[in-house]
Every structure is written in C-alpha cells, then in structure tokens.
C-alpha cells in the first residue's frame, strides 16, 4: 500500500513555496537561511519520491550531494551572519544595503 507519488510532489511544492515566501518576505537573515533550507529539502523530497517510484538510485545519490552542499553552505552562511552582526550590530538584511546603486 504505497502512497502515490503525486502526494509527495504536492507536499514538496508546498514546502518550496513556503521557502520562497520566507526568503522574499523575512528581514531576519537567520530566518531567510532557514527558508533556503526548506527549499533545498523540498527538492530532496521530490528526489527521493521519484527515486522510489522509478526504482532507481540516482535520485537518492543526488540527495546526499544536496545534504553535503547544504551543510557546507550553513557553515559559510552562519559565519557570514556572525561577521555581519559583529560589524553592523544587526542581522536584518534590509539594513545592510551598501551595494545600493
């Protein structure tokens, strides 16, 4: 009694939409970061779902890659946020706009 694959796709799409909304609307850099993680994991979910449905291992292999990349990204990203806080005493991204043209 397997769950049909399109259920997974819907959940994955919802998760991705939540992530996008989070990135676009939140000011707090850490929350934006978490939202990016949501989007990545939405991708992972569909990978795994299709891997199961198509009975291939490629998708699961990709998921490992994504998880490694995400872990690396977290370390770099958090370091940037810490540095940002040290220098600006804020982690609100709309207050940091030196690149304004």
């Amino acid at each position: 009694m397997a769950v049909p694959v399109h259920y997974y796709i819907i959940v994955s799409a919802l998760l991705f939409a939540v992530g996008v909304l989070g990135v676009l609307t939140r000011r707090n850099a850490i929350v934006i970061f978490m939202s990016i993680e949501l989007m990545l994991n939405a991708g992972n979910l569909s990978f795994v779902a299709f891997s199961k449905a198509l009975e291939g291992l490629d998708g699961q292999l990709f998921v490992f890659f994504v998880m490694v990349v995400a872990a690396a990204e977290v370390t770099v990203g958090l370091a940037i946020i810490v540095t940002l806080y040290r220098n600006w005493k804020t982690i609100f991204v709309d207050e940091v706009r030196l690149l304004k043209g």
Binding site: V20, V23, L24, T25, I32, V93, D94, V96, R97, L98, L99, K100, G101
Partner: protein, 639 residues
Amino acid sequence: METAWVIPALPFAGFLINGLWGRRLAKKFVGWIACGAMGLAFLSALRLFWILLQEAPSLRFWEPVYYTWIRVGDFHADVSFLIDPLSMVMILVVTGVGFLIHVYSVGYMHEDPGYARYFAYLNLFASAMLVLVMANNLLLMFVGWEGVGLCSYLLIGFWYEKRSASDAGKKAFIVNRIGDFGFLLGIFLTFWTFGSLNFREIFQAAVAGFSAGDAVLAGITLLLFVGAMGKSAQIPLYVWLPDAMEGPTPVSALIHAATMVTAGVYMVARCSVLYALAPFSMGFVAMIGCTTAVFAASIGLVQNDIKRVLAYSTVSQLGYMFLGCGVGAFVAGIFHLMTHAFFKALLFLGAGSVIHALSGEQDIQRMGGLRAKLPVTFATFLMGSLAIAGIFPFAGFFSKDEILFETLMSGHGVLYALALGGAALTAFYMFRLVFLTFFGESRLDPHAAHHVHEAPKTMAVPLMILAALSLTGGWIQLPGIEGGRVFGRFLEPVFHEATAILGHHGAAHPPLWLEGALMGVSVAVALAGIFAAYRWYIKDPQRPVRMAQRFSRAYRWLFHKYYVDELYQAAIVDPLKQAAETTHQWVDRRLIDGAVDGTGSVFRSLSGAVRRIQTGLVHHYALSVLAGACLLVLFVMAL
C-alpha cells in the same frame, strides 16, 4: 693608426670616474683624474702626431675602423676615425689647450661645491669634441656635434640655481638646435645624393660626378653651413654665445672660445671639396663671416662686462675664420682657428683670473689700475691682446693677416676693406679692455679692493704657457722664406683637391713686396686702433662719455647690441609662445580634453539611468532570481 681611439676614450673614462664616484672622492683626486686624463690624451695625440710625421705627406691619411655601427644594404656608417693633418691639428689644439684649461680649472673652481660635476662635464666635453674632429663620416661627426652641444648646455647652466645661467643654457641649446636641424638636413641630402656619408667617398663622388656650381652641392653646403652658423655663432644665430658667458670662465675659454665654437669652421674646412664645387656657398660663407666679424666687433666696442667683450670678440674672430674659408683660404682659416684658440683661451683665462681676484666683479667700469696688483695676469693678458689685435710678431698677426691677404688676392676688395675695418675695431675694443682694467685710477669697490690677490700657480702657469704660444704660435707659418709656411705645407694634402678645383693659389705666389706692404697696412691699422683706445681711455678719460652723449643714438644701438635680442623676442619667441598658448587653450583644453571628458560624461549619464536597479536589498535580488526561474520554466514548457 690603430690606437687612435684612446685619445677620446681617456677623457671619457675620466668622465665616467668623476661622474659616477666624484662626489665621494677627495677633491684632489678628482682634479688629478680629470687633468691626468687630458694630459695623457695630449701625450697620445703627440705620439700620433709623431707617427704621422714619419709618413710621406701624400700618405698621411688613415682610417682605422673600429666598429660597424649601421649597415643597411650598401650603406654603412662606421665608428671610424680619420687621421690626417687637418684632424691632427684639431686633436692637438683640443687636447693641448684643453689640458691647460683643465689645470687652470683646478685653481679656479677650487671653492665650488660642484667640483666633481664640473670636471665630469669638462671631460665629457673633451671626449665629444675629439669624436667630432676625428670622425671619418658625417654621422659620427654629428654624434660629437650633439655631444659638445649637450656639454655646452650643461656647463653654461652649471650654476643652475641662478636664473640667468639656466636661461642662457636653454637659449644656447635651442639656438643650436636650429643650426643642428640644418646640419641634419644637410646630412640627409648628402646621403640622398651620394648614398654614403664617409668623407672620402663623398669627396671622390663629388669630384667625379659633379661640376662646379651644381645646385645639389650648393644645397648640401648651405645646409651644412646652417649647422656651422649655429655652432660657430654666426649671424643670424650668434645670439647664444654672449649669453653663454654665464658659465664658469674656464668653460668660456675652452668651449666658447677655443674649441667647440670652432667646430663649424672645422666642418667647412673638412668639406672643403664640396664647398670648392659650390661657388655660391663659398661666397655666402665669406659674406656671412665678414659681416659677422664687423658686426660683432662693433658691439664689442661699448660693452662693459669683461667676458661679454671677449664673447663678441670671439664671434668676430670666428667671422674672420669663415671669411678665410669662404674665399678659399682654408689653410688661413684653420691657422687662425689655431692661433685664436691660443690667444682667446689666454684672454678668457686672464679675465677669469681678474674676476677671481676681484671676488666676482665683471664690470670693467669698476676695475682699473690692476697692473701693479696682478703682474702675471697683466703681462699675459697684454700679450693675448697684442696677439688678437694683430701686432707683429704675435700669433694673431700672421693668421689674421693671411686671411686679409687671401681675401684681397681672391678679388674680394669690399670684403677686404670691411675686414680691415674690423681689425681696427678689434684692436680698439681689446685695448679699451686692457686700459680700463689694468691702467688708470682704481675704480674698485673698496670691499673688493681689499682682497685683490694674484692667481695661484695652477692658474698662473697655464696663462704663461698660453702667452708663450700666443707669441710663437704664428711663426710656423712665416711666409716668404724658402722652406717656410710649414703649417700650410703640412695641411696641403688635405686641401690639395679643393685648391685644385678653385684654381688659384699654387705656384704663382704674389710678389713679396705686395705681401709685405699689406702686412704693413694691417699693422698700421691695428696700431691706429690701439692708439685711438689710448687717446680715449688713458689720455682723456672723459672723452668716451662726451662721445656717447654726442652720438647718443648710435651709442644706444651699440650698447643694446642693435636690439637683436629684442627683435628675436618680438618676431620669433613671442609669436611662438602666443601660438603655443592658443593651441593649448583650443586644441588641448577644448578638443582633446573635451573628447576625453565627453566620453566619460556620456557613460556617466547612461549608467545613471540604470543604476537604480541596484537597490542593495537582498529581497529584490531574490525576487528577480525567482522571476527569472519562472520565466525559464515557462519557456521550457512552452516549447
């Protein structure tokens, strides 16, 4: 002679040593290096002279080739020397007089902080001058020609902290550039005509392929003479030489009297074959020379700066040399060049000794009565003055008289009369100088009068040697007697071809009585000049003042040097400056700067429009990434 290269190399080595390490060496050592290099060069030159004399007269012609500098097709320019009697005379004069002036400088420049720099320049000058006179082709000669010009500039502006000195240096350089430009065009035309720059090849081709009066040869010789006008300070390019007196006095003696300024005369004599084939250029050279001789002498009559009088006298004497060359008497021109090197160097060094004794005073109106205080300087200066005035038996008598004689013999009666008048002026202004400086009441500044001292040995000995040369230097050309005219016979192989083309001189020497009578006339004219100076400046010292008042207009013209400097300023310098200023304003400021600034501002305003996209807000960037992704998806799906 293979080792001739050491003659210019020795002073160059001195230049390198003093130029690179001079400031860290002891003063005594610097002086020894500089004088030693020149002394050794003089000894080498004597040795070369001795070897040259061993050859038969017709074989006294060597061309040692050291290095092929440029080789293009058939054309080649070598670093190669030409040793013949003419260049030998020049080498001996440059190294000999140069050595004496180096020694003199040791005493004269002793207090100067730029001691090592001075000797480095002086050695470099000697080296460049030797390259100039020893070169066997026009290109290498031009290298030396520019080298001496550079050293002249450096030494005129030696005391560069003084505005007038650095200005004078620039003036000398720029006026010389005008002449050099003509010289360079002459070299180009020579190459275009003959395909070679080697003197021997040019002369052979000219004699073989051209008849007298050919327009191309006239063009070449006139262009080369423009170079000589600049270097040897002839009308209209003489204006730099009087100002060049801003340099140290030994420099005036070496560069601006004895050697460098005679380079033009040497060049004309070297190219005697070309000039002989261009009668128009010969006439032009003679005319310019004669005019300059009288013109400069007339300015010299009323100048009050001791060095300036001598400077105008140099311009005038150079005019005589060109007159000699122009009438075909190349031997006489070179002879006068040599004797002039002796007595004019002596006069300048004597003037330097006076200036040195008076702590820098140069105005002859504020001298007087120095005869007793400076006996050596007085005696030698007097001998130099007698030599330049042309009194028998001093050197200047023989050489100047020979020029006058040859001028008359070649049928230039008007030029002869003018030159004779110039000789009277020469005697007058020289003895005006002598009387005002050494005779009469002392008009010294009491402060300066206190310190008056005779020159030290290093300065006095060169004066005495030069005085001896000024007395005896002319005797080598004693005429008339069988076996006489040693100097002329020595140079004969060099000018043989030119005199053959010109077709006079040679066996038919004019009668001795005519030569004697003309000599009598020359001496009488010179004595008249001296006597007039005596009447004006010793017997009746108020007379010059009265005359200046009576002929105030003429006096003003002479005193202001015919306003030539002012004329050049108004006619050439100011319009050029104005043109440069206009160009600067319109072309530089508006056109070029405008184009550059315009490019910048166009891109600036374009970028101003699109820079608003960069808000600096992460959200906006993220949104545009999302929009882009959506568009891509739609695009893929639409396919």
